[in-house]
Amino acid sequence: MKHLFFLIALVATPAMAQDFSEGSEAKTWNLYAEQPARFEAKVVDILCELTGDCPDNCGAGNRQLGLVRSADNVLVFPNKNAQAAFTGAVQELLPYCTQTVEVDGLLLEDEYLGAKNIYLVQRIRVLDSDEWVRANSWTKVWAENHPDAAGKGPWFRRDPRVLAEIASEGYFGLGLVQDEEIKDDLFE
């Protein structure tokens, strides 16, 4: 009977949190819950993975991409690329749609906030290559897609959709009249 309980426990117990920091060269962001993590994983379209709704090419950059970790089949959610510019990870991972790659970055686990298997990807390597690719291409892709928004300053000050939202609803989102009142209160 003791053997039975042992076998059941072995299968039934969810995988304990593992340490994937070995060999990682991830740069710290000094985040409360960060841990360096380097691992092999398959790049997947998360909506496809969960629901079976699977377009070609993982959604061509319009869908969030996940990493199904080879070691334990856990679905890791890369929220962020390596740029400090309010930019996600989709453009970085899209070239590797459905491929198994090695990634290096920061894993976030914060039980209080519900953060589990959240990832900041800093570099990516195809398995049969020695070359790592930095996960910092988002702003270049944005510039190529927005030639009319060329100019000085960071992309988020020039993005047409962001500018349209702010022009319509203000920086605080409550409408232009309230926006001016809030700014008067805060800054004058």
């Binding site: 009977m1 053997h3 039975l4 076998l7 059941i8 299968v11 039934a12 962001w29 985040l31 409360y32 819950a33 960060e34 998360i46 909506l47 969960l50 629901t51 709704d53 377009p55 959604g59 950059g61 319009n62 869908r63 969030q64 856990v74 679905l75 959610f77 929220n79 962020k80 510019a85 309010f86 930019t87 996600g88 990870a89 989709v90 453009q91 976030l108 914060d110 906030l113 519900g114 953060a115 589990k116 298997n117 959240i118 900041l120 988002w138 992309w155 988020f156 993005d159 959709r161 962001v162 939202e165 702010i166 920086y171 605080f172 989102g173 409550l174 809030i182 700014k183 805060l186 800054f187």
Partner: protein, 151 residues
């Protein structure tokens, strides 16, 4: 052998139960459409500072930048939003951008996988616009979100 057979049967039952936990469940939920990276990472401040009016402009930037949006429910649960009605553009999509910081009542399908919650919004039952006037406590987050704050 009998013990082993029993164990394998028990394991198969448990595995089936675990697999079914990943299947969708229909839910109705009310909450704010948030920027998940700022919320989870704390990079811009604590969780109360990265929601509502204070963080609205940053939420626009992050949504446009392809950072996943979530729905922060009234009980504190965060759902990663993968679809809103007809829009599967869950990375930098127009619908997600338009709803940044808004409180919505949503009907849809809930999935759980490896400790994260996922939501397929089938219907935005009501869009209650921005409800959390967090700028009263925090001003703009980050401060440079509003150009006047830098002057």
């Amino acid at each position: 052998m009998k013990i082993l057979s029993s164990a394998l049967f028990a394991c198969s039952v448990l595995s089936a139960a675990q697999a079914s936990a990943a299947e969708g469940e229909r839910i109705s939920v009310k909450g704010e459409i948030i920027d998940t990276w700022c919320y989870f990472s704390g990079v811009m401040g604590g969780p109360d500072a990265v929601v509502g009016t204070a963080h609205h402009t940053c939420a626009l930037w992050c949504s446009a930048g392809g950072i996943p949006v979530g729905l922060l429910a009234e009980d504190g649960t965060v759902y990663m939003v993968l679809k809103i009605e007809d829009s599967t553009d869950n990375a930098s999509g127009d619908t997600q951008l338009r709803l940044a910081s808004h409180v919505v009542e949503a009907d849809g399908m809930f999935y759980e996988r490896d400790g994260l919650n996922y939501l397929i919004v089938e219907e935005v039952v009501s869009d209650l616009d921005i409800q959390n006037l967090s700028h009263d406590s925090y001003g703009p987050v980050p401060p440079f979100a509003v150009p006047e704050a830098d002057q």
